[in-house]
Every structure is written in C-alpha cells, then in structure tokens.
Symmetry: C2
Subunit: 384 residues, 2 copies
C-alpha cells in the first residue's frame, strides 16, 4: 500500500490536541487524513483533509467513518470499541486494536490484565459499585488510606482520588471502581514504546513526571529521568514486556511508579501519543507523533534517542478563570532560552483544562528544568 | 496586539511549500491565518484558517486580501508590490516591505542596491533587452564566459544561464537581464538573518550549498558549512550588513560565493524562509519558519544555534517523468539513521520540480552527509 498517495486514507478518532499534533506529521508526509470528532470546534477541524462531525461513542458514527478509511487510529481511548471490532472483522486495520482498547478502557480490566501477565502493579480490589467500597470498609475488608479509581472514563486527573476517610467518598461517581493500595513512591516514570505490525519495537528514554499536588495532573515532564541506569533499564524492560503482552501496534505509553526500594510498578497505560512524550517534538530525533505514524503505517521506526535535554510544562487553565482564553505573558516566556510554546487552540479555558504545553530544551537538563520553573511562574492561562 | 487570539489575522501571500511549512508553526502557536494563492491545489489549502483563491500579481486580489488581515507576509516574491505599497499607506504591517520586495524582485535593481551600499557582489552589466547583450558582444563590450540572469521572475534555477558562446543565448527570454562576471568559487554559502520590528537581529549558522550541475538547483544544504571560522564570520558579517541595508523585517536569506581567495560576494537574497534553511526544522533550536513568525509578529527571536549537524536533500522530479507523483523507495530511506522526509503535497511531478526535501541529522556531520548521498541514490520522484 502506498501511503504517500491520495488513494490512501488514514482515519483518526478524536480531534483534540493529540490529533492536532499528529496532523503536523501527516502533513509533513502528505498523508491524507480523515478526523471524526463530536465538536465543531475541535483543534483538528483544520489541517485534516476531511473533518467528520460525529459522536465517538456512537456505533454507527464510528463504524461508518471507519469504513471510509484504510487505516484507523485514535487520539483518545473513549471511543465505541464494538464498532472497531466490527471494522476489524471487515478487514480494516485498526491500531490500537479493539482488544487492546477494551482491556485499557476499563481500569479494573486493565489491572487484571497486569496480574494475568505477571506484570508488576499495585495491589487492588475491584468493586461493581461505590457502595461496595463502604461495605468493605465497614466489615474491615479495606483499610485507609487507599486510591479510589473509577473503572471508566477517567481523564486528566478526574476519576482518581486518594481516600483517607469515609467522607472522601462523598460526591464520587457511584459506578464500577477499584481501590488500590496507596504506594509511597520516589518518582512517577513513563516510557513510550513504539511497535509496528512487522514487530519492530523501540522505546523512548524513561521520563520523570512531576505532578501538580491538587489537580493530580502532570506539571513537568523531564527527559531523561534523573534516575540510575539500573532503575531506567528496569523501567524500559517492564514497558517492553507490557507492550509485548498487549501485542499492540502504534505507541504504548506506560506510566510507572518507582517505589522507595526501587521496584517498578505499572500505574496505567495509554495506547497512543501521550502527554509524557510531548518533549520529543523538540528534544528527540523522532517525535512521538511521527513515530506513531511510522508504527501504524508499518514504516521503519525512527531513532528514539534525544538530541538534547527536554522539559515539558503543561499549560492548564488557572483557577478562578473561565471563558475566552488569554495567554498572559506568552511573549515573555518566548524570550527565555530554548522555549517553544504549543497552543492547542481551544477557545474556552476553565480551571486545570489542558490548553497547551511549553517545551524547554537545553544541552544542560538542569538548566532546562530551571527555565521550566520560570516559564511556570511567568505564563498564566486566564480568561478575557 | 494579542497575536494569540482569534481577533488577530495573519495574511500569507502564496500557498506553496514554504507557506505549508510556515503553517505548521502558526498552528503550533494557534495563530489565525489567511492564505492567498492562485491555485486551488495549493499545499496551503488545508491547515490555513482561510484559503482565498486569487492571482498574486493582481492588484485588487492582493489589496482586498490584505485589507482583511492585521499583518501581511509572503512566501514567494512574485506578488503585486503596488498593492503592498497601498496597504502600507493604509497602515497595514507588511513584512517584507514593498520597498524591499521592489528592490529584490528585479535582479538588476537588486545588484545596483549592493553597489550603492558597498556590499560585495560580482561585476555585472544591465541590459534592457537580450538583443543588447548580442550587440555588446559584437562590439567587444562583453566577453565570454558570463552569467546571463533574467531581471525578473526567475525561480528554481530558471532565469539563470552560463553563456560560453553566442548560441547559448538562443531560446532565452528576450526581456530585461544582466550579464554577470562568471566568478570561479570554492563554495556557495548562505546565511539566514532574522530581524523583528524592534530591531532584534539574529543569524543562523553559515550553510554550504551543493548544486545540481544541470538544473542549477540546490542538491544538498550542509549545516554548518565546512569552512574556516574566518570565512564563516566574514559571511555572517556581510549577511548582517545586507540585512541592515534593507532594514528588512522577517527573514532575509543571503546567498553568497566564497571565491578562490576567500572573498565573499553576494549572489542574491530572498526576504522569506528559504530552501537553505529547511534543515533548521530538525537541526536548530528554532526552525526558520518559527523564527520568521517570531520576527514579523515582533516576538523575541529564538536561538539560532544547532542541536546537531544537519544535511538537507531536495526531492525534485526525476527526468523523464511527468504526471501523478510517486515517491519510489521512500520507506527505504526512512530506514536510514536520522532521516525525515518532507513531502510538499504537489499532485503532479515534472523534471526538476521541487516536490519535497529530506533532512538528515546526526551528531557527526560527515555521517549525515554520507547518509544524504545514500538518500539521494535511493529515493526517486517519478510518476505513476
């Protein structure tokens, strides 16, 4: 199949910021793209060859869209997986596969998958309803503290909460969930694995994620992680083992905890380009987005090593501001050394909404980290 | 003026490959763009917010387009300059200015500008008609060999020819032209200068251009040029002096000859992103396209130094092929180390037409140059 011809069509489910950045590389390779998204204001509305409006959770919308393309991929997990399965039965190439997505979409199923494949993860219990957690606490089957996670549709820090007392359960969604042992950890790490249908596999360097305490969102991603080679190699091996277990195609971002005694536990995975890989655009020989394309199109994978050190800062809506977005002091941060802002093009800001990110690259990683702090202090995502 | 809001509109005259690459960065910053081009198949048709169909040489088309935007720039010199001048009188920001463009559009005027500003350039004579060259030869006023250059509308190697005998003049355009002394040179060099309205100025490293003997098109661009620091500094100084003389805003690409005795002579300039800067996308801290945006929007300029060595290979249509383009062996070159193809999205190929370029980056510039040779031998731009 000649991907570099207008006879070929790549379908992307989701038109958000990940899709938008992916489109830079489809445009670079002049690959014809069709995007399906539920919002007419989706960042992918421009730069895609065809933009289709439709509900990603609706069987018909996804199935009929998928029938029109040659290869189908996603930029968000919350899509109708039954439609993907039907498309696979029709012989469509769907990466990630419906099987992988089905396992990952439900956090309980995802955790069980790790257990079944002897992949290290924190101990947990599964509950059909939130009320069952309360029962377990009352009859002594569950002790505080623990981490509550909604089984489905959690994103950007939603759907995860540390529970230290019964009152912390108030106002949580009532549905299926898990209670995970709260693991004290030194670092949160991530490794992005790329794999193409021919089986070629590559891993990007291990990155370190610094989280915002309240929002439970990544604040800084640091590449490479400032950890020992032993820990880094262990993390890369576990990421590879996880990728192999899923037998996935495309990118698999594996988020992990480095425990106090340097064990590695898998937190969760995402079968697509990921926030922990944005710095690859400027810092790596191959960006995660180009790599995802190379992988799903069964092209040779690119180099995953770094040209320079990279730090990524998420730009999220400031607390207390909602409405038409304004990027305060963006010109000032562009005056700092090695700084590139990425603005996602969402019109409306709200507290902690991901509106963009800033990459800081430098030969000296610590200097990049210092500048990142300055960026964080300087720019503010507010409303008019 | 807040560029990062949908109230701001950037206008781009020309929708070709330079515009297409510029749009990657307007998308990165979420800057609203309007593109004017004469072809409905222009690469900028997607990824711009508004695509306007119109003749770039037509006063009304350019003027009416320009009235709708806040800042106007170009990706090709052949536009209606009277319209730009009228827009400037109306108070529009036009970068490059009509004055700069008027001087550059006509190669005779451009050469006279260098003479007037004591900028080094090869000796030349100006002729209103090709026939006057023949007269000059006949009455001994002009000796072979010399370089004939059309005063206007030369591009991609057209409009330039080495004349060694009278018959070489056959089939040349009859209009205004210059005859330039054929300078034996060691290297063709280029320096891209960036300047913003506030007067901040930066230069990218000196690059070396290897030309295709027949097509007179750049075949390889090598960054940094493999020349002594003295020669590099001299080239950078002359580029800066040229930029200052034009008092331009945006990018100015200055092409130069390094003579046998290491003098630097200006060949020609382009007031926009340029083929000699494509490797900056992968090799530099700031790509020339992002830098052009930073400059015309009066934002702080980015770092111009390189992360790694870079070599750029132009992908031009192979001789003997015209029609729907096919990129033969593109997957094979993507298997080489540090290789990124850029496909411009032109549907039709013809001999020597610029269809894309390939960047090869490596810590070791000589290794990148070796891989570039392999790329050149492997990929072929042919027709179905």
């Amino acid at each position: 199949m000649n991907y570099f011809s207008s006879n070929f069509k790549l379908g992307i489910l989701g038109g958000g910021q990940l899709g938008k950045m992916l489109l830079n590389d489809t445009r670079k390779f002049d690959i014809y793209t069709c995007v399906l998204d539920g919002s007419n204001e989706a960042p992918c509305k421009i730069a895609s060859n065809e933009f289709h409006l439709g509900d990603l959770m609706d069987f018909d919308a996804v199935y009929n869209f998928g029938k029109q393309v040659d290869v189908l991929t996603i930029e968000i997990e919350n899509v109708n997986v039954d439609a993907l399965e039907a498309l696979e039965k029709d012989g469509k190439k769907v990466y990630p596969s419906s099987k992988t997505l089905r396992t990952i979409q439900n956090k309980a199923t995802q955790k069980l998958f790790y257990v079944d494949h002897n992949l290290p993860t924190a101990p947990f219990s599964r509950f059909a309803y939130l009320s069952e957690i309360e029962d377990a606490i009352n009859n002594g089957g569950l002790q505080f503290p623990f981490v509550w996670k909604a089984a489905q549709f959690g994103y950007d820090g939603n759907g995860v909460k540390v529970v230290r007392q019964i009152s912390d359960l108030e106002n949580l969604p009532k549905g299926e969930c898990i209670a995970e042992t709260l693991v004290p950890f030194k670092n949160e790490l991530a490794v992005i694995v790329a794999r193409n249908p021919s089986g070629e596999t590559k891993t990007f360097p291990v990155v370190e994620m610094e989280f915002h305490p309240e929002a439970n969102q990544v604040e800084y991603v640091i590449c490479p992680a400032r950890i020992s080679d032993d820990v880094a190699n262990k993390a890369r091996e576990i990421a590879l083992k996880t990728s192999k277990a899923f037998n996935h195609v495309g990118l698999l971002a594996v988020e992990m905890f480095q425990t106090q005694n340097d064990d590695i536990l898998i937190n969760e995975v995402a079968p697509r380009p990921h926030n922990s890989g944005h710095q690859t655009i400027e810092a790596s020989y191959t960006s995660q987005f180009e790599q995802h394309l190379r992988a799903i199109l069964d092209l040779p994978l690119g180099r995953t090593d770094s040209k320079v050190g990279g730090v990524m800062v998420n730009l999220v809506g400031a607390e207390g501001f909602s409405g038409n977005v304004v990027y305060e002091n963006i010109a000032s941060i562009m005056n700092l050394y090695g700084v590139t802002p990425h603005i996602y093009g969402k019109k409306q800001t709200r507290p902690f909404r991901k509106m963009g990110h800033v990459t800081i690259v430098n030969e000296d990683l610590n200097e990049a980290r210092r500048v990142a702090e300055e960026v964080k202090k300087t720019i503010r995502v507010i409303s008019e």
